[in-house]
Symmetry: C2
Subunit: 207 residues, 2 copies
Amino acid sequence: MKKISDSTISRLSTYYRTLTNLIENGVETVSSDEIAEINNITSAQVRKDLSFFGSFGKRGLGYKTKDLREEIAKILGLKKKWNIALVGVGNIGRALIDYDEFKKQGFIFKALFDKDPQKIGQEIKGLRIHDIEDACYVAKEKEIEIAIIAVPAKNAQAVVDSLVQCGIRAFLNFAPITIKVPENVMVKNENMSIELEALSYYLTQSK
Amino acid sequence: MKKISDSTISRLSTYYRTLTNLIENGVETVSSDEIAEINNITSAQVRKDLSFFGSFGKRGLGYKTKDLREEIAKILGLKKKWNIALVGVGNIGRALIDYDEFKKQGFIFKALFDKDPQKIGQEIKGLRIHDIEDACYVAKEKEIEIAIIAVPAKNAQAVVDSLVQCGIRAFLNFAPITIKVPENVMVKNENMSIELEALSYYLTQSK
DNA sequence: AATTGTGAACCTCTTCACAGCT
DNA sequence: AGCTGTGAAGAGGTTCACAATT
């Protein structure tokens, strides 16, 4: 399949959210122009993004909100639930366990890992914290498909390496470091300081 | 000044982090090739990014780690401390207060806001939680420059609107919604589900 | 010999603009 | 008449490749 750009995929996520909101508000049809307006982009961008995957609208009429949401769910793989694991039960990790948005989109925590003996064995939200050493066994048992890395930067690469060995192929990385992985493994980064630093840059510039 | 792309700015942040690590490990010089290698990009990209701001290296020798880090700190505005406010003291918000990476880069929480009467008046890490209604007054007193928005999506726009009124011009938004702001105000988004959905997409594709 | 700094080439993403459908 | 879908044009970002410098 033709390679679709990361920006298109992340915009599809925002369209998905937009459609969810519209549906909740009882809106049944929507134009590319309206979706664009809500998300501060152009309508051509919306149509082009969708066009990579099919034609979901009706000329002159726009898109049925429910149908389009369904189509995007299919594209993004949101028709199924995803089993995810949290590695590193610190502040960030704990916050993510409680983060409703994940559950709402079908991402379900099935396993927690840490290497701190104090934490291992404890339970959070009915989930036991396992020793990271047992990750392969537990990950298989719980059929983990995605791992969220919330360990200190210095441990992140090693943790990912071993999970790749266990067969995990998708990672959401919160550690402020670039993780190396084989070709067929995907890492997405969530680096909160980078965005703050961009704000710092813009404030500094505009003085 | 010439408009610099967002990607260049965010790469500068990663170079900055790379240099910090190298310095901690006693490395005194580094080539664009080494910086590139660490971050999985090309050396031309590193040199081009830097070239927008000056020439900081020596041909044949590379860059002095300490000097280059200093230069990037100047570019990104990291020579000063930034006063930041947290709006919305929920799970995510609490985790951010404890997030060392922010403090390390010079972003210091000076004010917390919430609208829940249960929370108002409480203290976290020596910081009092103020009523969001008092935001303007407190923001001025504490000289807040950047606000982190960690309130539910449905309240985010209103909260930002009022803070813009108070004169705040930079926002890091964790709410899964596109915020509208005037031209001279900057919003950066941290949308964790979007990255997870990208992983979902790639796993679905590669099946 | 090694490595930077950079114009030019290349590639990718976005926007335009309009034919085609409803 | 209104709005989609899309090829073509335009803008922007990345990589190449090499002269310049140490």
